[in-house]
Symmetry: C2
Subunit: 131 residues, 2 copies
Amino acid sequence: MSTVFSKIIKREIPAHIVAEDDNYIAFLDINPLAKGHTLIVPKMEVNYVFDLPPDVLSGLFVFAQKVAKAIDKFSDAERIGVAVIGLEVPHAHIHLVPINGLFDIDFSKPKLMLNPEELVEITEKIISFVE
Amino acid sequence: MSTVFSKIIKREIPAHIVAEDDNYIAFLDINPLAKGHTLIVPKMEVNYVFDLPPDVLSGLFVFAQKVAKAIDKFSDAERIGVAVIGLEVPHAHIHLVPINGLFDIDFSKPKLMLNPEELVEITEKIISFVE
């Protein structure tokens, strides 16, 4: 069965996509810890990130770097933090989260409630910064 | 001025090193969230992980994958989570943390107090699993 991320890749489920190439896709997290919180997903459907072939894993982080630089320009946070947990969806993914402090990546914190207009605005801004 | 991580690389400060090659080093976190919590550090002294040259960044995660597979064998946790925060030491580094749940990478949690014998034992076990 397709994961929810594969359904996003196949456009069967909508998402706020900010970048995509042949092997990877980036879209906004629907339960963000901060404005600009983005998921980076390999199109290869593998559950555990460290089970990805090394070349797919390394490409994933080079793609994430490109997206992180765009989020950095969008966000006024100090930097973009990274978390890979992967217990929610059985399809490897990286969280990119704008952070100002050590405790800003904490998934037990209440999530932001963003309205649809804000999500579209954030998406468009990040897309405009992707090089 | 050298970062504390560069001092570890130059053997000016002791650490529980579990893996090393020409470009990267891995050692136990001294304030671990879990047994086996390990830091992966590029020898290139760059503050922000996304400022690393793409080839150094991708190599960092391939090296981390090798170490994560060893920690996976050492640990009975469900998988190895990843966090890159980097606001504590101005030298890019990846946290590899054995996790069983979404909330197990939370740096506001109290850290484990491991005694020197336990740290040596963990180090030796992880080293024995590095391929």
